[in-house]
């Protein structure tokens, strides 16, 4: 941890005098993915965030949005620009864990607040946590842990596990196994970005598993589910919400029907904040909101709740106001743990068809008031 101190003092020295805080308003820098294949997630986060500001009529929050193209080096450069030139007070918006790992440590070391609307890599929840870093979504392992808990309650004893061969993929399987108590019928890592799963499906067929846990975000999940449905293998699937998101389900179609997945949010959660959000989002953008949109919306409302209590120039007061998490979350109960990561319920959802729209409905709670496995390592 010696380096960290050096880093902090160097960067803090650089950032001296570089605070853009005006008396009342807040300047927010949003770095998110708006072009290329992963753009859908960034657009939803941005739209959810904007909607919350609009509904609150918050005209004194200035948001600067920049596209990171899903490239870590571009994200780092945008962060430099927002901190050096635009002198923002708060950064947010990053979708991908690898981009967050490249940007967040340097940003918080320069005295900026960072509110994560999506990525929750484990180092930032554990030893690398920071007093100015707040995660408003989940720690990366959470939804996988919930999938493991669900597998137990569904009576699965022999799971086949599938994830891409990259750090978030290994974390997914680790997270699943943290709660899942049965045996492993197989554990396979696929190439990142792979779209043909014939080989893996052949292994699943030969494995004798009673359930398949998979974490394949984006296009990978679409491809896998469609091919799985065609293969004639009928072992039940379990997975985190990322492959069953509102935007993706329409592309998967019938292949996803009936699959159970885990999420901290769903559009049918019965609380006033969520009802207002779902209605307003549809009215504003003409589509159903996704998980990511809800996270962007909650992030903005957290920010607004802190702004109402404290001036961002007074960092200690503003931080305390963020820690209180005094806002109406679309997920219902929401509070921060000691490492500034959420403590929240994680639900089990089932994919259903309403009219001709594929969507999810909540069928149970997988984990109640779940924090994360890394909080103990966090020394703030």
């Amino acid at each position: 941890m010696k380096t960290r101190t050096i880093l902090l003092s160097t960067l803090a020295a650089m950032a001296l005098g570089a605070s853009g805080a005006t008396a009342e308003g807040i300047k927010v820098g949003m770095i998110t993915t708006l072009s290329g294949g992963g753009a859908g997630l960034g657009i939803d986060v941005r739209d959810g965030f904007d909607l919350a500001l609009k509904m609150a009529g918050a005209s004194d929050v200035e948001v600067i949005v920049e596209d990171d193209q899903q490239k870590p080096d571009i994200a780092v450069q945008i962060a430099d620009k927002m901190i050096q030139s635009d002198q923002v007070d708060v950064l947010t918006g990053i979708i991908w864990s690898n981009l967050a790992m490249a940007v967040v440590p340097a940003a918080v070391a320069q005295g900026k607040f960072y509110l994560s609307p999506n990525a929750g890599p484990s180092p930032l929840a554990g030893a690398g946590c920071d007093k100015n870093y707040f995660n408003v979504a989940w720690q990366n392992d959470n939804l996988h842990e919930a999938a493991g808990a669900y597998a137990n309650s569904a009576g699965y004893k022999n799971s086949f596990m599938l994830a891409p061969n990259y750090p978030a993929g290994t974390d997914a399987i680790t997270g699943y196994k943290r709660f899942y108590t049965g045996a492993a019928a197989g554990e396979v890592y696929t190439q990142l970005g792979q779209t043909d799963y014939a080989a893996e499906i052949a292994q699943i067929r030969a494995s004798g598993a009673d359930s398949v846990f998979f974490f394949l975000p984006g296009g990978m999940g679409i491809a896998f589910m469609k091919q799985y449905a065609e293969s004639g293998v009928d072992i039940p699937l379990v997975g985190p919400a990322f492959s069953f998101d509102q935007n993706i389900l329409q592309a998967v179609g019938d292949a996803a029907l009936g699959v159970h997945n885990t999420s901290q949010w769903n559009k049918d959660l019965d609380n006033p904040a969520n009802k207002a959000f779902v209605e307003a989002f549809q009215a504003e953008y003409g589509r159903l909101p996704s998980l990511y949109a809800s996270q962007g919306f909650d992030t903005a409302n957290l920010l607004l709740s802190a702004k109402a209590k404290a001036d961002v120039g007074d960092q200690d007061a503003f931080r305390a106001a963020l820690e209180a998490a005094d806002f109406a979350s679309t997920r219902g109960d929401f509070k921060f743990g000691p490492n500034h990561h959420p403590i929240q319920d994680i639900y089990v959802r089932e994919v259903v068809k309403e009219g001709d729209v594929y969507t999810n409905k909540v069928v149970g709670v997988a984990l109640e008031d779940r924090g994360d496995a890394y909080a103990e390592e966090c020394k703030m």
Partner: protein
């Protein structure tokens, strides 16, 4: 028409392009726009990668679609040394102990050695082929390195490797944008000077002759293979150093530096500016970054506009940007 006069004109253009880059950075520094200085630094680094590739591509006629491998290897060597220095652990213990380092002057020689070794292996095997086969086999080697980096968990795999603190340089504060720019610009100038010297040396003339007419060179008792391999290795070392600077710029390396997109981008800088012209990659990288910034503000779909512009340049200005200036198109 004077060959000397043409050469003098070319020298003026080269100096002017470089001076423009430095002037932009200085003006931005004085006017208090540190981000523009950072952008100029990025342009200088990409330009240096382009200058390196140009040695193989423009002068040696070796169209390598795999130079991202050297850019990325340079970056990874930097990241690995810096992260070990931060953690206080050695990089290697067997067969001999190599300590980590957070000094640019300590890291650069390592970068040069490692990229040169990699280029010797890749070059020796790839140069057995020519033409499109050479393009594709260099790509294949770069893809192997890329997939290797993705699955190398010890150094972050797909997530990449952050080292948070820029490496240091004696007498300078590398965190100050303008001082880091000075380092990048100085290395770029050195690289340009080196390439200028090489291309005018007996070796360089033989290399260019081997591109134009291999039979004649062979008849005079020189093996084109040895010439080309040497040029390929020198080219890779320059690109590797650029990769090292790029890692320092971002305090971060990832497999993206090794991807075929990166190889394509370095190639775009060279072609955009003008193949086989010393300052071509500098103009190319500068204009590319300018376009990225300007068009990015116009629309979310700015890459389509960028594509149309690139297309127009290829179709209507085949000598690249510098081909539009006096001195005319260089004959390839």
């Amino acid at each position: 028409m004077g060959r000397v006069r043409r050469m003098r004109q070319a020298a003026i253009v080269n100096a002017a392009v470089f001076a423009l880059l430095v002037a932009v950075a200085l003006a931005a520094h004085v006017l208090g726009a540190p981000y523009v200085v950072t952008l100029a630094t990025k342009a200088a680094i990409f330009a240096m990668a382009g200058v390196g590739l140009n040695l193989a591509l423009g002068y040696g006629g070796m169209v390598s679609f795999g130079h991202a491998a050297f850019f990325g290897i340079g970056g990874y060597v930097t990241g690995i040394f810096a992260s070990h220095a931060a953690a206080g652990t050695p990089v290697l213990t067997l067969p001999f102990t190599v300590a980590g380092s957070a000094e640019m002057l300590g890291i650069w020689p390592m970068v040069m050695v490692v990229t040169a070794l990699a280029a010797m292996v890749i070059g020796a095997l790839s140069l057995r082929t020519t033409g499109v086969y050479f393009i594709m086999v260099t790509l294949a080697f770069a893809q192997m390195v890329y997939y290797f980096a993705i699955s190398w968990r010890a150094y972050g795999g797909e997530d990449g490797l952050s080292f948070y603190v820029r490496n240091s340089f004696p007498g300078l504060n590398t965190f100050a944008p303008i001082q880091f720019f000075a380092i990048a610009a100085a290395l770029l100038a050195l690289a340009m000077g080196f390439v200028a010297l090489v291309t005018r040396s007996r070796f360089g003339l033989a290399l260019q002759a081997a591109r134009a007419n291999p039979q004649r060179v062979m008849a005079s008792g020189i093996r084109p293979f040895a010439l080309r391999l040497t040029a390929f290795v020198l080219s890779a070392v320059i690109v590797g150093l650029a990769g090292s600077l790029y890692a320092d710029l971002n305090r971060f390396v990832s497999p993206a530096m090794l991807s075929w997109h990166m190889s394509g981008e370095i190639m775009v800088f060279v072609i955009l500016g003008g193949v086989g012209r010393l300052a071509g990659p500098v103009a190319g990288a500068g204009v590319f970054i300018l376009l990225e910034q300007v068009l990015g503000g116009v629309s979310d779909y700015w890459q389509a506009l960028l594509g149309l512009l690139l297309l127009a340049i290829v179709l209507y200005a085949p000598g690249g940007i510098l081909g539009l200036l006096p001195g005319g198109r260089r004959h390839v």
